[in-house]
């Protein structure tokens, strides 16, 4: 990137310093397992892109939700692809985030000075699950309905606050149009906003602390 435009922008923004800090930083000799975090990040980007596209047609309203999903999948050009990517991407992301965490555990990468990275990671794990849970209701079919019944009843057994937790999640005593709109709002606004902030913090900490080396047996 030593093009004239790059120079022009660099002179006014100093972006090359940041580019270097992010992408050209020194790292120890590592292996493919260290790509799992980046793979999660990539899936997240894909989820954002395809999710935004889905909102162009999806309608979070009880009489239309399923019809709109059906239209996306069966009638719209490439609708099956966009929805399919988002659908399978969500499972891939859950899988990748868990594998990434397992690598961090296996290599002891959560230790000083990376505890904060780990904590932000725990929040990201919960967020990833929340995305899956709220997104699952949106197609508004039998499976979606009963999964949410079961999911919110699991929430209900939380000590002390379980009852109110369930009614807040459902927006009432049972699943209704209000549940659908709040799951939608959470899925497309609240969770993405929080996710972006936390990913920012997580990545900042990863770059700031540097990446761990592969632990050796005799250390």
């Amino acid at each position: 990137m030593s093009s004239k435009i790059g120079d022009w922008v660099n002179e006014r923004s100093g972006w090359r310093n940041h580019y270097a800090a992010i992408f050209l930083r020194k790292i120890p000799k590592i292996n493919w397992l260290y790509t799992l975090g980046s793979a999660t990040l990539f899936t997240m980007t894909l989820q954002f892109a395809t999710g935004i596209l889905l909102t162009l047609y999806y309608v979070p309203e009880p009489t239309q939700a399923h019809a709109s999903v059906d239209y996306i999948t069966n009638e719209l050009t490439f609708g099956w692809l966009i929805r399919g990517l988002h659908h399978w991407g969500s499972s891939a992301m859950v899988l990748l985030v868990i594998l990434h965490m397992v690598r961090v555990i296996a290599y002891g990468a959560y230790k000083y000075p990376r505890e904060a990275t780990w904590f932000s990671g725990v929040a990201l794990l919960l967020l990833t699950f929340s995305f899956g849970f709220t997104g699952y209701l949106l197609p508004w079919d039998q499976r979606a309905y009963w999964a949410t019944v079961v999911g919110t009843r699991i929430g209900e057994v939380t000590p002390f606050v379980g009852g109110s937790l369930k009614s807040v999640m459902l927006g009432g005593e049972e699943i209704s149009g209000l549940t659908l709109t709040r799951f939608y709002g959470a899925h497309v606004w609240i969770l993405p906003a929080v996710l972006l902030v936390l990913v920012g913090i997580h990545m900042y900490l990863v770059i700031r602390n540097g990446i761990t080396a592969v632990p050796k047996r005799n250390e």
């Binding site: 030593s2 120079d7 660099n10 002179e11 100093g14 090359r16 310093n17 940041h18 270097a20 800090a21 050209l24 930083r25 020194k26 894909l46 892109a49 395809t50 596209l53 162009l56 047609y57 239309q64 019809a67 709109s68 059906d70 239209y71 009638e75 719209l76 050009t77 490439f78 609708g79 692809l81 966009i82 990517l85």
Partner: protein, 200 residues
Amino acid sequence: MNDDADLPKADHADSSLTDPAAQGESVSRLDADTQPDEDPQLDAKGISRRQMLTRSVAVMGGAIAAGVGIPAIFYVAGPAAEDSGTAEWIRLGAASSVEPGTPTLMKANVERRSGYLTSTEELSVFVTTENGTSFEALSNVCSHLGCRVRWVDEQDGFFCPCHNAVFNADGTVASGPPPRPLDQFEVKVEESQIFIKGIA
């Protein structure tokens, strides 16, 4: 990393802005900072491992972006290509209700499909006849920017309130900005009922 390193200081701003050598230097200094300590290993064509990797990442990233991006264009544009117009004859009403010499506004409900939704829309059409046997049907949508025109007896023309256009009784433009006459529908009379077909 020090952000300020690259910003020209006030006293030598001129030289660092105009002297290409000064700029080139600051860039290569940055590269030197971040390059691995070993000499870059060049292959026969003089491409370093880093360049090779950067390029492959760019190519793969481009391929993935195109793989999602190109279908996305079709996905977004999809319904625009769908034909929502009506290919069927629409019944407007009795031919006898059209007064010879005066355009008569007739209405019909049409079903319109957009995506998975069908909605009923009211279609308004000016029907004209001179002799009570042959009929013409004019759209009431102004050919300028789509406001609704109305018939004004005193002016013997259609008037569009949006930009003061006037159309003659046959739909041609009398004055104002519209680029073409009012659109016409195909008309047929069956069992003394008027039917129209065409643009909607």
